[in-house]
């Protein structure tokens, strides 16, 4: 596995190098040139400010999305009335690319951090909401019955909801949420790029667009590389979540 990964990586670099040499560095700089530029950026404080800003926006958006979508998904899965009302809305708006909300968010929330974070949250949240709701709706009837049978009637209803969430709903939706996180990691970074490409002078999206404007291709590719790594980070986070929180799933 490790060996095959390394071979694939080298093959990718080789292909890149070949294409770069063929089309010329006015269109595609070589991996060496991008690597050198990236190394240079790593020595600059400014780069970390861009990276840190994008990381903050993406992380805040990711967790805001998860934090809102998961409980709402449980509620929709459990409360028929709420689901009857929200599910049609959800499935009607699901195919709409969330990046289209950007102008709306800019108008509503101004030019600060809020619209960027909220856009990422909406992108992640939609995916997670759909799978969380579905995993509760499709939960095998025998789990509900088993839980109901174990519940001592004399304890308060509030405690029952908490226990049900902790012992049944949460573990039941986790594997699906991890998958949704993985799928959302790429889209979240791409909408962040859109959000950072205007009306801001911070973030990797700005860095890429700015370098592009100056025809500084190595810097542009350094920015693209950094954004790719940011997406990879969330992908790995999703894998980690699944491995540590869903040990039964690998059985």
């Amino acid at each position: 596995m490790k060996v095959r990964g390394a071979v694939a990586f080298l093959a990718f670099l080789g292909l890149w190098e070949a294409v770069a040499l063929f089309v010329g560095d006015q269109i595609l700089p070589t991996p060496g040139a991008v690597g050198a530029d990236f190394w240079l950026r790593l020595g600059q404080k400014k780069f970390y400010v861009h990276l840190g800003t994008s990381f903050y926006r993406a992380t805040a958006g990711f967790f805001l999305g998860l934090g809102l979508a998961i409980p709402l998904g449980w509620a929709m899965g459990r409360l028929k009335k709420l689901d009857d009302f929200l599910a049609p809305l959800l499935f009607l708006t699901y195919p709409v690319p969330k990046v289209l909300f950007l102008p709306v968010l800019l108008v509503a929330l101004g030019l600060g951090e809020a619209p960027k974070i909220v856009l990422v949250a909406v992108t992640v949240g939609y995916q997670v909401l759909v799978v969380t709701r579905d995993s509760v709706v499709n939960l095998d009837k025998s789990y509900w019955e088993a839980f109901e049978a174990m519940w001592p009637e004399k304890r308060p209803a509030m405690a029952k909801s908490l226990a049900l969430t902790r012992h049944v709903l949460w573990p039941a939706c986790l594997p699906a949420v991890a998958t949704a996180m993985r799928l959302a990691s790429g889209t979240a970074v791409s909408v962040l790029f859109m959000a950072e490409s205007f009306a801001t002078d911070l973030g990797l999206g700005f860095l890429i667009v700015d370098a592009w404007g100056n025809l500084d291709l190595p810097r542009m590719f350094s920015g693209i590389l950094a954004m790719g790594l940011l997406g990879g980070f969330f992908y790995l986070l999703a894998n980690f979540t699944e491995k540590t929180l869903c040990p039964w799933a690998k059985a």
Partner: protein, 254 residues
């Protein structure tokens, strides 16, 4: 823990327009065991769920012990939580009931040794064999210390040998714990072996069409004793009369 008496009179239940049960009657003394036999879809699961308090019914009287007796149902598909380990599945009912830690430890320990699950505490249900899963479900039902234990085709997914071994084991546990037990099954041998009372369900809607008693010993030797074989034959004939000769082929193939 002791067994609860069970009294059922004129039990009726329908799902929408289909009447499943009508006028089902039976009595069980504390600590007795009863097996239900009947064709697939005749309402065995429904009766057990009603007795467990998990299913409303239209008419009739159902009394288990004095008022709120503790009941445990092992459902047909077990309902084990795949995300909890063997230990997690066993302790959950006790955690929910807020049983104190010392008592909890002792009950879990007893269930683990009674059901031979000691070496498996950290496994998830997905990592267990069918027989081990069945034992875990039984263990989870027993930690609640029920006065009435309801088993819905508890061993149906198992091979014949494991099935017989678990049946013998269950009979020993039932004797020792003194609880009242009701089992739905497709296997005539299992019904005759585990039940002191064997009720053949039949008719449309379903009621008990024939009732047999078997107070014989519930040990491995019982299977080869002549009274056991004679009773098995009688029950099989009653089933055939109620459902036609092939009605119980699911059970007789095992």
């Amino acid at each position: 823990m002791a067994g609860a008496a069970v009294r059922v009179r004129g039990l009726a239940k329908s799902f929408g327009a289909t009447q499943v049960l009508a006028g089902l009657d039976f009595d069980l003394a504390p600590g007795e065991s009863l097996s239900f036999l009947g064709a697939s879809g005749c309402g065995k699961t429904t009766v057990l769920r009603i007795l467990a308090g998990a299913c409303p019914f239209e008419a009739g009287e159902v009394a288990v012990g004095q008022g709120q007796a503790v009941r445990s149902l092992v459902s047909q598909n077990l309902g084990l939580f795949p995300w909890k380990t063997v230990l997690g599945n066993l302790t959950l009912p006790l955690d929910l009931a807020e049983v104190d830690p010392a008592e909890k430890a002792q009950r879990v320990e007893a269930a683990l040794s009674d059901l031979g699950l000691k070496g498996l505490v950290d496994r998830y249900p997905g990592q267990l064999s069918g027989g081990q899963r069945q034992r875990l479900a039984l263990g989870r039902a027993l930690v609640a210390q029920p006065e009435l234990l309801l088993l819905d085709e508890p061993f149906s997914a198992l091979d014949a040998l494991t099935r017989e071994a678990l049946g013998i084991h269950l009979a020993q546990l039932w004797r020792r714990l003194g609880l009242t037990m009701i089992i739905a099954t497709h296997s005539v041998e299992e019904a005759v072996f585990l039940g002191q009372v064997i009720a053949v369900l039949g008719g449309q809607p379903t009621r008990a069409v024939a009732v047999f008693r078997n107070d014989g010993p519930k040990t491995a030797q019982a299977f080869t004793e002549s009274h056991f074989m004679e009773l098995t034959r009688k029950v099989r004939l009653a089933l055939a009369e109620a459902w036609g000769p092939s009605a119980n082929r699911v059970g007789s193939l095992q």
